[in-house]
Amino acid sequence: MIYREAGQFKASYEEDQQIFPIKQDRIVMAALVVAAFFVAPFVASEYWLQAVLTPVLVFALAALGLNILTGYAGQLSLGTGAFMAVGAYATYNFLLRLDGLPFLAGLVLGGLSAAAVGVVFGLPSLRIKGFYLAMATLAAQFFIVWALTKFPWFSNYSSSGIISAQRIEILGFAFDTPARKYLLTLAIVSLLALAAKNLARTNTGRSWMAVRDMDVAAEVIGIPLMKTKLLAFAVSSFYCGIAGGLYAYTYLGTVEPDGFGLDLSFKILFMIIIGGMGSVLGAFLGAAFILLLPVGLNVLMHTSVGVLVPATLASNLELIVFGVLIVFFLIVEPHGLTRLWQIGKEKLRLWPFPH
């Protein structure tokens, strides 16, 4: 009843091609943006801003990057963690070695470095697909983490490759509190999410999806496979690189190469599988699900059963419940949370009537 587009007529193609063609969606989205920018920083505690909201945004950005490559362009990758590492270390080095370089410029240069590395490790995609490509990107994962540990230059000769993020300052304004870092992250992630959505709905995104769905047909209608695949690797790695930079600068503050290991890549892959392949919304839902579920379970364990079970058992129980829930979700809806959300929307159109 409430969620119906009745009476909303589209009189032009402009209106039909907007991101949220239904008015209710636009209202909800506007409310969400206002809440994220103007309410959350003042209401949420430092713990929530620093340990929950900021990482959700950072991981959503990384998941968005992987989703561009795997969800839209259909190229399976296990190198997400490595591309994030390139972003983080390149940003660090640019800011360290170029005096007076603005923070945002360093971040973008870090993203571009990741894009360049992504293109190099994307070259095998011109020959191989699927699991074999995953193996090739796995090489990126191991090689880059190894290189960052092996060559101390990257971490400015600190012990075991650890880097500490410099102070973030933009136009003389210091981003030094959790709330400010959260806002900076939110602004960057929002802009990049919008850009990703725009790419997805225009010719670039259609070419990626065409290559994903049927590469022979894509080539026959004139889509150059090499250019399209490498562009997907570049844009995807750029997103991952920016995510890596934010991971180091606004979330953790101190990172080491091993923090960008295969575990991280898998975590982000799970996010897009659970959130939904080939969807911008899916990256956010997946990141929120994977990161918030343990927090929720933790709270649940300590408030309800915490008295009865010892802490060690509780933390293992958490893992078990977490695993079971993931399996459950994948069985119920293999296309992820985005699909569940769409089904929910279709049901809401009719509710409370049966037809």
Binding site: Y13, E14, Q17, A195, A196, N198, L199, R201, T202, N203, T204, G205, R206, S207, M209, A210, R212, D213, M214, V216, A217, A218, E219, V220, I221, G222, I223, P224, L225, L231, V235, G278
Partner: protein, 261 residues
């Protein structure tokens, strides 16, 4: 609009194609004139689809010359063929299953879209104007093929006959001068076949598109095509107007067989 059959637009000379030791095509020559509907027929495995794949650059023949619009070409990939104005549909539908009908047809216009990904990421301004201009053309094709009601449906959910029509729409979106149709009516019922025939004739007459088609339904082929090439075991055994081919004893022997008696 009166149909005008013009000069030779595509000339294939002595084409031979083999995969390892298997000869798919042996010394085949034929031409296609501008504005005509040219049919390729033959039993299963005669090399019909291979012939189309040679024309649009998916396969590279070991021997022979291909002259398209007066220009000879040696090796060419499908992407270049598309850029020269050759579009096609496939025997087994080759649509992009995860995309909507509208997006599928829009991909057909990708060669005409000039904005790079940076403009696209911004969307507002040049990209938006470009998207809307192409959307307008795509909507004309949607009207032409009468698929307005399914434009927002993912193609994976459509019945077979409609998928074939969407594939035709995607090929037409490229505004090709030469359209290759690989069994456009395979697996359709009579009504769907009639619809498809009408669309093919409309495309040919109203848009002036030259069409090369492979089809097994002899009634359809004899009705709509101007000239027919007959292949058997990778060799050309007949070539000419439908009536001539129908009465050719070699063709009857090899292919039409019982149907002609």
């Amino acid at each position: 609009m009166a149909r005008v059959i013009g000069d030779v637009i595509l000339d294939l000379q002595n084409i031979s194609l083999s995969f390892g030791g298997v000869k798919a095509l042996t010394n085949i020559s034929f031409d296609v004139r501008e504005g005509e509907i040219r049919a390729i027929i033959g039993p299963n495995g005669a090399g019909k689809s291979s012939m189309l794949n040679v024309i649009n650059g998916v396969y590279h023949p070991q021997q022979g010359r291909i002259v398209f619009r007066g220009q000879e070409r040696r090796r060419m990939n499908p992407h270049e063929a598309a850029a020269q104005g050759i579009a096609r549909t496939f025997q087994n539908i080759a649509l992009f299953k995860g995309m909507t009908v509208l997006d599928n047809i829009m991909t057909g216009r990708n060669l005409m879209m000039r904005r790079n990904f940076l403009w696209n990421a911004l969307y507002w301004g040049p990209t938006r104007r470009e998207e809307i201009a192409h959307r307008r053309r795509v909507e004309e094709i949607i009207d032409f093929l009468e698929i307005q009601n399914i434009r927002k449906t993912p193609v994976g959910r459509l019945p077979y006959g409609l998928q074939k029509r969407v594939e035709l729409a995607r090929a037409l979106a490229a505004e090709p001068s030469l359209l290759l149709l690989d069994e456009p009516m395979a697996g359709m019922n009579v009504e769907e076949k009639q619809d498809m025939c009408r669309f093919i004739l409309d495309v040919n007459e109203q848009l002036g598109t030259t069409i090369v088609l492979i089809e097994h339904d002899m009634g359809v082929v004899m009705d709509i095509s101007d000239r027919v090439v007959v292949l058997d075991y990778g060799r050309k055994i007949g070539d000419g107007p439908p009536d001539e081919v129908r009465n050719d004893p070699v063709v009857i022997e090899a292919y039409l067989g019982g149907a002609a008696h």
